[in-house]
């Protein structure tokens, strides 16, 4: 039983996701090269942050055509867990595995800093060990994190409880003051209707040790681990 971290040309948070899962949580994890259609029997796939294919044209627009994405789509369709972080989230949007699109940050600048996000739903494999309403302090680092979608999609996301994380102020208020990039509805992360594919702009893999100033990201990876254990996937 193991995690897979996809490596696109230009991925640069691949090693960080690997470190969080493999070294901090000590779970089996492997890199998967983007040219490969073989997911190597992984039980959950992470699409890491970075600038896949240089993010030329549009973030994630080229990466979605990588051979590995064909397999990831099938994998997701079968109900298995896929988590996209930052650039990985952008790729999932481009691939149509999650609804909506990304625009440039309001202010048109790259932003790297710790933000606060609130856990909105706890009935997913990515959030079930968190408390509803729990505030996580996790860094963002992106140019294009201004999530948008049409009103019908937004209504659907809300009705189906697909908004997993929202930007808030440090004390948990829904407020534009807590929203770093202008995203619609302060959305920081969402999941699909099947609740097995999720994406978020903040980097939980950068908040997994006290030396890094926060361990709040661990709850997401722990949830994934517990979900696999619960599904009878014993870790080797």
């Amino acid at each position: 039983m193991k995690f897979g971290v996809v490596v696109f040309p230009g991925s640069n948070c691949d090693h960080d996701a690997y470190h969080a899962l493999g070294h901090v949580l000590q779970k089996p994890v492997e890199f998967i090269w983007h040219q490969s259609e073989d997911l190597q029997n992984c039980d959950a796939i992470i699409l890491p942050g970075g600038f896949a294919y240089g993010d030329y044209l549009r973030t994630g627009a080229i990466a979605r055509f990588s051979p590995v994405m064909k397999s990831v789509e099938k994998f997701a369709a079968g109900g298995a867990m896929v988590l996209g972080i930052c650039n990985g989230f952008q790729i999932l949007l481009e691939a149509g595995l999650l609804p909506g699109a990304m625009m440039r940050n309001v202010g048109l600048r790259y932003i790297c800093r710790h933000v606060h996000i609130r856990v909105e739903e706890t009935d997913t494999s990515f959030t079930h060990t968190a408390k509803k309403g729990q505030i996580l302090r996790i860094p963002i680092a992106h140019n294009d994190g201004n999530y948008t979608c049409d009103e019908a999609t937004l209504a659907e996301l809300q009705t189906n409880g697909q908004v997993l994380f929202r930007y808030t102020t440090p004390d948990g208020k829904d407020d534009t003051a807590g929203n770093p990039n202008g995203s619609k509805g302060n959305i920081a992360g969402i999941c699909n209707r099947g609740r097995n594919v999720a994406g978020l702009m903040p980097h939980p893999e950068r908040a997994v040790e006290s030396a890094l100033d926060s361990e709040d990201g661990l709850v997401i990876f722990r949830s994934m681990v517990e979900a696999l254990v619960g599904a009878g996937k014993a870790f080797a």
């Binding site: 640069n12 960080d16 942050g49 600038f51 240089g54 993010d55 680092a141 893999e205 950068r206 890094l212």
Partner: protein
């Protein structure tokens, strides 16, 4: 800037851009290449004939100031470069030091000043890209970037018009975006550096980029071609017409009104390709089939091929028809001189080239065998089998002209007490001046800049920008962490280049020590005006003496760096600005020290390596006139930098390292720009707006005591029960330590001096002034 078409400089460039081998070399053409008549006859002597146009181009770039160090070589020899941890000193792509457990660190700082003025975004990106390549060329994986930046004033002042200020703001914006774009996409955190503002940098901004990488000692690579018959492989981006004469014409001459016409000489960066190049090179090196490797930076294919041959004592032969090209119809001259970015030249073991080529193919990069290593020491360049250049490699790379240029000490500035800062009357409240100082762009928070950098990727950043006096990155493979700081004070350099240079070393080392790490080695970037001016050469020579003395005293040998001359526009030189990067080792990463105050009731102590001093009041005014406070409050820049005592600096460093190791202090922050008051305020701000109640002893003028910038001092805070231990450690190292106050949580910063509160106010209000000072100067708020 108005672009006219009839100026000679442009005519020269046009001719060069279309140069073909049939162009006959004349003394006039040689002069247009920046080759002097003496240098030209030296070329004739080496070749035993006249050069053709391609050969002239090759000599002109290799012998340019930027590539050959012809004016600085005689002085650079005086720098200390040896030490027991130094694995590789100056002369390779980067300096290398031993950091224990079989690991080594490669690091170097380099300037990209001229291109960043002509085209700020691309100039800055390629500056970062170039220094990163220097690091991974050595086989070291880059783990951190720092940037030392200098710009003109952001707001209109007596010396700066609003139009100029607006231009300075645009240059800053372009440079920051460029640095951010390259580092962020490449995936190495930009963890620190400094930014300062002075009018002299308006037409000559300084962009000095430092990169740090790590490797196993046995995995280091060097740029020495070996083994006749071994294939020479070109890898990375295709060669285009960009950046031709970037090093020779752009970086080796001063600016005039026509400088904007040099935009085509600026290289264009692609961090995505460089990221692929990094991963592919690291993988190729692992195959064991790579013999030597060098990046193509300044002077491109010319420099990489002849330097590798020269260092290896071999010859090299290249077939230009095999070089991957982005454009059609490029002449040999253009291919050899192109400075297209993200390219490498490597030598592989004969018979194993396919292993190397396969790795680059996997990463989607061009890689082609373009030639081979030869016996005999000749660099032979062919195009479709015809020889287009044939030059002995060693004389080309190593026997360029060396100048001991004339030096002249500038006439002594005639100053009297009237020119110096006049201290406010005793009892004057200084809070408003303090706020003005906190909002000055040089002092104010740089968060607006550093938040545009990815400071955390690779999850090793223990102290990013502003958290500690130095940037601190851990080594996941060991218990240790590395600390890095860059420093340089142009104002002080202008008043006294030798003492200014010594302060730059001392402050960088002090910053490293304030993070808890022991300073072990240095890299330098020497930014000066035209070496053809005797006054500038004198400044340079003085600065070298200062650097040498300070590096020797503090045990930080110089392992590399670069020299950037010709930082002047229309005859005006920048302040002599040596930028020093110092690397330190923190034995236990968990013991990293940060600047922020922590708990209420913690005791604040002032450490002073010099133990106070007895300057006459006239001398106090004289040295205070060179301070940031004097500049911002009284618009005075005069006098002398504070006197420096290297022994005191060393003692303070030893105390800081010992205190960190013994876990005796909660925070540490050195005193530098803005003196004690600014240091205390920054520790409050970094401590979640902690308060501080300070009672400062002393009999000097209040402004001198609060804002003076004398070195060898730091502020630490400690739990009350640890204070006696802190005092004991300080005493053991001969450093004066005194309790000056307590950390509070009442949102008040209060500094009492001679029985009066001279600076006080709510911390959140002071924080606002400091936190948004830069954005306000940039007119974003």
């Amino acid at each position: 800037m108005v672009v006219t078409s009839s100026v000679p400089a442009e005519k020269g460039q046009k001719r060069m851009a279309t140069a073909q081998t049939e162009i006959k070399v004349t003394p006039e053409i040689a002069a247009e290449h920046g080759v002097t008549p003496e240098e030209y006859s030296r070329i004739q002597k080496i070749l035993k004939r006249d050069p053709n146009i391609t050969e002239l181009g090759i000599f002109s770039v290799m012998w340019s100031e930027h590539c050959s160090y012809k004016s600085s070589k005689v002085h650079l020899k005086r720098l200390p470069t040896k030490g027991k941890l130094v694995v590789q000193g100056p002369g390779e792509n980067a300096g290398v030091v031993d950091i224990g457990d079989g690991w080594v660190a490669a690091f170097k700082i380099e300037s990209h000043n001229h291109p960043s003025y002509v085209e700020p975004f691309q100039g800055a990106t390629t500056g970062v890209g170039g220094i990163l390549r220097d690091i991974f060329t050595m086989g070291a994986r880059p783990i951190a970037i720092l940037d030392s930046l200098r710009f003109g004033e952001l707001t209109a002042t007596k010396q700066t018009s609003e139009e100029e200020a607006a231009k300075n703001r645009r240059i800053l914006d372009g440079v920051i975006r460029g640095v951010a774009h390259y580092g962020n996409c490449f995936g190495v955190p930009t963890v620190g550096g400094e930014v300062a503002f002075e009018p002299c940098y308006a037409q000559n901004p300084l962009v000095n980029a430092l990169a740090l990488g790590i490797a196993r000692k046995e995995d280091l690579f060097f740029a020495k071609a070996k083994g006749a018959g071994n294939p020479v492989i070109y890898v990375g981006a295709k060669t285009g017409r960009d950046g031709i004469h970037g090093a020779s014409l752009l970086a080796s001459a001063e600016f005039t009104e026509q400088s904007q016409q040099k935009r085509p000489n600026v290289q264009v960066g692609d961090p995505f390709t460089e990221k692929l190049l990094l991963e592919a090179c690291m993988e190729a090196m692992k195959t064991g089939a790579v013999v030597a490797i060098q990046d193509m930076g300044a002077a491109g294919l010319t420099c990489s091929s002849c330097e590798m041959a020269s260092r290896g004592g071999t010859g090299i032969e290249i077939e230009l028809a095999k070089v991957p090209q982005r454009e059609t119809g490029m002449s040999p001259y253009e291919i050899m001189l192109s400075e297209s970015q993200e390219r490498m030249l490597l030598v592989a073991e004969k018979g194993r080239e396919d292993e190397v080529l396969a790795v680059f193919k996997k990463w989607g990069l061009d890689s082609t065998v373009v030639g081979e290593v030869k016996d005999g020491g000749l660099m032979v360049v062919k195009e479709h089998g015809h020889v287009v250049a044939e030059i002995p490699a060693h004389p080309l790379a190593e026997e360029g002209p060396v100048y001991n240029r004339p030096m002249a000490e500038p006439a002594l500035r005639k100053e009297t007490e009237k020119d110096w800062f006049r201290f406010a009357a005793e009892g004057t409240e200084l809070t408003e001046n303090f706020k003005k100082l906190l909002s000055a762009p040089t002092i104010a928070s740089k968060r607006w800049i550093t938040e545009q950098y990815d400071t955390m990727v690779r999850t090793n950043t223990l102290a990013g920008p502003g958290a500690s006096d130095a940037a601190v990155v851990r080594l996941k493979e060991s218990k240790r962490a590395l600390a890095l700081a860059t420093d340089g004070n142009g104002r002080w350099g202008s008043l006294n280049p030798k003492v200014g240079a010594m302060h730059a070393v001392a402050e960088a080392a002090r910053n490293v020590a304030a993070s808890g790490a022991r300073p072990i080695a240095a890299t330098n970037c020497l930014n000066f005006g035209s070496p053809e001016k005797p006054e500038v050469m004198w400044q340079f020579s003085q600065a070298i003496d200062g650097l040498g003395e300070a590096c020797l005293a503090l045990g930080t040998p110089i392992t590399g760096g670069n020299v950037s001359f010709y930082n002047e526009t229309l005859g005006n030189s920048i302040y002599p600005t040596p930028t020093i990067g110092i690397l330190g080792i923190l034995e236990d990463a968990a013991k990293v020290l940060k600047i922020g105050f922590r708990d209420e009731g913690d005791v604040i102590l002032l450490l002073d390596g010099a133990g106070g001093e007895n300057l006459s009041s006239a001398n106090r005014a004289k040295e205070f006139s060179s301070s940031e406070y004097s500049k911002d409050i009284a618009n005075i820049l005069a006098g002398q930098p504070p006197a420096i005592e290297l022994g005191a600096e060393k003692w303070l460093i030893d105390v800081l390292v010992a205190l960190a190791d013994q876990g005796k202090v909660q925070s540490a922050h050195d005193l530098s720009d803005g003196g004690l008051a600014v240091s205390i305020a920054e520790s409050c701000f970094a401590g979640n707006n902690a308060g501080a109640n300070i009672v400062l002893p002393g009999s000097d003028a209040a402004e001198y005591a609060l804002f003076g910038e004398r070195g060898a001092r730091a502020v630490v805070s400690a739990k009350p029960e640890m204070v006696s231990g802190v005092l004991a450690t300080a005493k053991k190292h001969g450093v004066a330590a005194q309790e000056i106050g307590k950390v509070t949580r009442d949102n008040q910063l209060r500094i009492e001096y001679k029985g009066r509160a001279v600076v006080f106010g709510p911390v959140n209000a002071l924080h606002d002034v400091w936190a948004h000072g830069l954005e306000r100067a940039l007119k974003l708020q």
